[in-house]
Amino acid sequence: MTETLASYSVIAVYSAMAIYVLAFLLFTVDLSRRTAAVPVAAAGAVVGAGRGYTTVLEADAPAEPARKTPRYLRAAMALTVIAWLLHVSAVLLRGFAAGRVPWANMFEFTLTATAIIVGVFLAVQFWQDLRFIGAFVTGFALVALGVATVNFYVDVVPLPPALQSYWLVIHVFVASLATAFFAIGAALSVVQLLQARREAGKAQGLRFLDRVPDADKLETLAYRVIVIGFVFWTFTLIAGAIWAERAWGRYWGWDTKEVWTFIIWTIFAGYIHARATRGWRGSRSAWLAIVGFSAVLFNFTIVNLFFKGLHAYSGL
C-alpha cells in the first residue's frame, strides 16, 4: 500500500512538472509580448503610459479595459492551477503513503515547499496582480522538483525518534511558508532591480517592463510579502529553539543549521531596517532581499548536504 501510494505520488509529480513546463513557456511568451506597443489593459493590470507609469491597481480603476487578459497569460495561469492541483495531490499521496506529514526529508520538503510557493503565488493574485512573476515561480518550481526527484528522492521510511514530535508539523511547515514568501519577495526584488535600471535609462532592451509596476510599487509589494515571510521565519526560529530544547536538551547550540537560520533572520532584519534607512531604500534593500533568499537556498541545499550538524534529516 505504502509503495503504491508513493509511486502514484511520483507519477503526479512528473505530470505536474510536464504542465509546469507548458505554463512556464506561456508565461515567458506573455512577458515577451508585454510591451507598451500592445494596448492591452486588464482590470488590475498596469498600464505603461510613456514615462509616467499609471497604476490602476485600486478597486476604483476606470472600467476602460475592454479587452481581456492576453490569451497566453490566461492559459498560463490555468495551466499553473492544474499543475498545482496535481502537485498538491502528489504531496497528499506522499503523506498518505508515509502515514505522516510529508516533509521529513529533503525530497519531501522540496515537494511540499514548492507546492506552498506556487500556492502562495496563486493566492496573492486575489490581492495583487503579480502574474508577471509567473515565469519565475513556475520555473523555480520546475527546477526544484527536477532536482528533488532526480537527486533527493528517497523511499518512504519511518520517522526517526528525534523527528517524532508535533513540532515537526509546526516548525517545518512554517519554515516552508516563510520560504515561499521570501521566494516571491526575491522575485519581486529582481524585477524591481531591472525596473530601476530601466527607469534610469540603462536597460532599454527589457521592453516587457513597460507593463509591470514601477520600481517604487514593486519595492512596496516586495516589502509586504517579505515582512510576512520574516514573521514566519521568526516563528520558525523560536519554535525550533523550543523543539531543540525538548529533543536535544538545549534551545540553542550553534548547530550549522541554527547558525544559518540566524544568518537569514539577521539579513532580513537588515532588509527591514534598510527600508527605513536613508540611502538604503530602493536597489540596495532589493539586493538584501535577494541575498536573503539566496541564503535560504544555501541553507537548504549546501548546508543540508555538505555541512555537518544535528539537522541531518536529508535522508540521503
Partner: protein, 536 residues
C-alpha cells in the same frame, strides 16, 4: 508622491539616518571638545546606518563558525580538523574561530549592536510615553496634498458634521481632538509600542540567556541497565557548569535505569532496522521521597526537581568476566561500547590494571547481529541482539593508569603495549558469543562474555532562566507582529463652508510607517460619515 507629508511627519526621535528623521544639517560643525566627541560617537553608534551595518556584519561574522567545527557543538570535529589542517590551525586559533560565538570579535559586534539598540530604544520610549498622553496635532492647512484625500458635499451645519465625524472616529478607535471646523484623529500607537516591546524583549532574551547559562549546568552520564546514578558532580562523565554555578544548583535526586527498550523497523524492507522508538524506563528518587517510575524518550525529557533529563544516545554494554588462573573473579562489569554505525557495530575498550599477573588491555568490536563479510571480517546487519558477537584484541603492558593523569576510558593507546591476541600476534583475536568463555593467552586466566545489557546516555540540564527566555521570546514575536501589521495613521476631517452656505467635507490621512490600507480607510470613513449624516 510623499515629499510634503514626509516632512510633516518628520520625527525627531527617530534614530539619525532613519527615513522619517529630519535630514542632518549640512552646516560645518564647530570644533569638538572631548564631550562633544563622545556625543558625536554616541550619535554615530545609535544611528540607523550603524545599526544596519552592525546587523549585516553580525550575519557575516556568523558564517565562519558554520564552516569550521565548533568546540561547543562538535568537539571531536575540532580535534580532527586540527589534525587535518596543522598549518591553518594557529591562524584559526588566533582568531578564535573554533569558538566563534564566544570570541572577542563576535561578542564585540553583538554587544555594540545591543548598545546601539539600547541607545535607540530609550529616547524612543520616553518620547512614546509623551506621545501617548499628547493630543492629536492641529489639522494641516491644505488636506489636498495628503494621502487618500477625498471630499463630500453637504448642506448641513459644519459644527454638527464635525461632531458626528468625531463620534465616528472615536468609535473606530481613534484618539480625537476637535479644532475649529475640523477634527484631528490618530490611531495605531500600538505599532510603536510593539516595536519598542520587540526591541526591548530582544535585550531581555540576551540577558536571560546569559543569566541562565551562568547559573545552570549540563552534565552527561552513561547508565547501564540495572545501574543508577545520583545527581552530584562526581557521578558525571562530563560536566559543564555555568560561570556562577554552585553545588546547590544540583537537585538531590538519583536515577536508576531499569530497562532500555528500542523498537526497530521490521516490516518496511527499505528501512529494516531503522529505529522507531527508544524508551528508557527509569526509577527516580528525590531525596526524602518515595521512588517513582518514569519513562524518558527522545522528545519527552523527564522533569525532576527543576532539572530536565534527556535521552541522547544508547548502545550495548557487554558484561565481561575475567578470572585469574585459580578461577577467582578479578573483573566482572559492563563496559559501554561506543556505537559506530546505524547497526550498532560498537568499539569496546576494557582496561584491567589489577588482579592478573600483568596489566591487561582489550580493544575490539561488538556486533549485535554479526554476519561474515566477503573479506572474512564481521559486520553487524541489524541493530538488535540477533547474533551478538564480541571480538577482542588483547594487550599487556603498562596501561598508563597509575601515573595520576586522567585518561579517556574509551581509548586504548596500544603503542607501548604488547599484543598477545590479534592479527599482530600468533594467537588470533578472542571471539565470544553470550555465555562463551575462552582462555587468555600465556596462562593469564579466562575471559567470559556473561551478558549484554544496554546502556542509555543521559544529558542532565538545568537552566533556571528557561521560563524567562520563553517569555521574552513570546514578547519578541508579539511585538514584531504588532509593529509590522498595526497601521499607525493620522486622519483629518475638515468642513469648509462656502459663502453660499454649502459645506464641503474634506477627508485625508497620513501614514506613519508602512500603511497599505490608508486610502481605502479614508474612503470608507467618508462614505460612512455620509451615512451617519443621513441618520442624524
Amino acid at each position: 508622491m510623499d515629499s510634503s507629508p514626509r516632512s510633516d511627519s518628520a520625527d525627531t526621535t527617530r534614530p539619525q539616518g532613519h527615513y522619517d528623521a529630519p535630514e542632518a544639517d549640512k552646516i560645518v560643525q564647530p570644533t569638538l571638545n572631548f564631550v562633544g566627541y563622545l556625543r558625536f560617537f554616541w550619535r554615530q553608534l545609535t544611528s540607523m546606518r550603524t545599526a544596519l551595518f552592525l546587523l549585516l556584519l553580525l550575519a557575516i561574522a556568523a558564517i565562519p563558525g558554520s564552516l569550521v567545527p565548533q568546540v561547543s557543538s562538535d568537539p571531536n570535529g575540532v580535534v580532527q580538523f586540527k589534525q587535518n589542517n596543522p598549518g591553518f590551525t594557529p591562524v584559526l586559533e588566533f582568531f578564535q574561530v573554533f569558538t566563534t560565538y564566544s570570541s572577542v570579535w563576535f561578542s564585540a559586534i553583538y554587544l555594540l549592536l545591543f548598545v546601539s539598540l539600547i541607545g535607540c530604544v530609550i529616547p524612543r520610549t520616553t518620547h512614546h510615553f509623551d506621545a501617548l498622553r499628547a493630543r492629536p496635532p492641529k489639522t494641516p492647512a491644505r488636506l489636498q496634498r495628503l494621502e487618500g484625500f477625498t471630499s463630500r458635499e453637504s448642506t448641513m451645519d459644519a459644527a454638527i458634521l464635525i461632531a458626528s465625524a468625531t463620534t465616528l472616529l472615536k468609535r473606530q478607535g481613534y484618539r480625537v481632538e476637535q479644532y475649529t471646523d475640523s477634527v484631528s484623529a490618530e490611531r495605531g500607537y500600538l505599532r510603536e509600542t510593539g516595536n519598542l516591546v520587540f526591541h526591548t524583549a530582544l535585550i531581555g532574551v540576551l540577558v536571560t540567556v546569559g543569566i541562565g547559562g551562568g547559573l545552570g549546568y549540563t552534565g552527561q552520564r552513561v547508565v547501564v541497565e540495572g545501574q543508577a546514578f545520583t545527581n552530584s558532580l562526581a557521578s558525571y562523565d562530563s560536566f559543564n557548569p555555568g560561570r556562577f554555578f554552585t553545588d546547590s544548583a544540583l537537585a538531590p535526586f538519583s536515577l536508576a535505569l531499569d530497562s532500555f527498550v528500542p523498537v526497530y523497523e521490521q516490516v518496511n524492507r527499505k528501512a529494516l532496522g531503522q529505529p522507531i522508538d527508544f524508551t528508557a524506563n527509569v526509577t527516580t528518587t528525590m531525596r526524602g521521597d518515595e521512588p517513582q517510575s518514569a519513562t524518558i524518550k527522545v522528545n519527552e525529557p523527564l522533569a525532576i526537581g527543576g532539572t530536565e533529563v534527556y535521552l541522547l544516545g544508547n548502545g550495548y554494554a557487554p558484561v565481561i568476566t575475567v578470572s585469574d588462573p585459580d578461577g577467582a573473579v578479578v573483573f566482572s562489569q559492563p563496559t559501554a561500547c561506543l556505537p559506530q554505525d546505524a547497526n550498532l557495530t560498537s568499539i569496546c575498550v576494557i582496561k584491567i590494571p589489577d588482579g592478573l599477573s600483568e596489566q591487561l588491555g582489550m580493544r575490539g568490536f561488538f556486533y549485535p547481529s554479526a554476519v561474515k563479510t566477503t573479506l572474512g571480517t564481521y559486520a553487524s546487519n541489524y541493530p538488535d541482539l540477533v547474533n551478538p558477537r564480541l571480538t577482542l584484541n588483547l594487550y599487556t603492558g603498562d596501561l598508563g593508569l597509575d601515573n595520576g593523569q586522567g585518561t579517556n576510558a574509551y581509548v586504548l593507546n596500544a603503542d607501548s603495549l604488547t599484543q598477545i591476541a590479534g592479527l599482530k600476534s600468533p594467537v588470533p583475536a578472542i571471539e565470544l558469543e553470550i555465555g562463551d568463555s575462552a582462555q587468555l593467552p600465556g596462562g593469564l586466566g579466562t575471559i567470559e562474555l556473561t551478558s549484554v545489557p544496554r546502556f542509555a546516555s543521559f544529558d542532565v540540564h538545568h537552566d533556571p532562566a528557561l521560563g524567562w527566555i520563553f517569555l521574552f521570546a513570546v514578547l519578541v514575536f508579539t511585538g514584531l507582529i504588532t509593529s509590522l501589521f498595526i497601521p499607525r495613521r493620522r486622519v483629518w476631517v475638515k468642513a469648509v463652508t462656502a459663502t453660499s452656505g454649502a459645506v464641503t467635507l474634506e477627508y485625508a490621512g497620513l501614514a506613519r510607517g508602512d500603511d497599505p490600507a490608508l486610502a481605502a480607510a479614508i474612503t470608507e470613513l467618508a462614505d460612512k460619515h455620509a451615512g451617519v449624516k443621513v441618520d442624524s
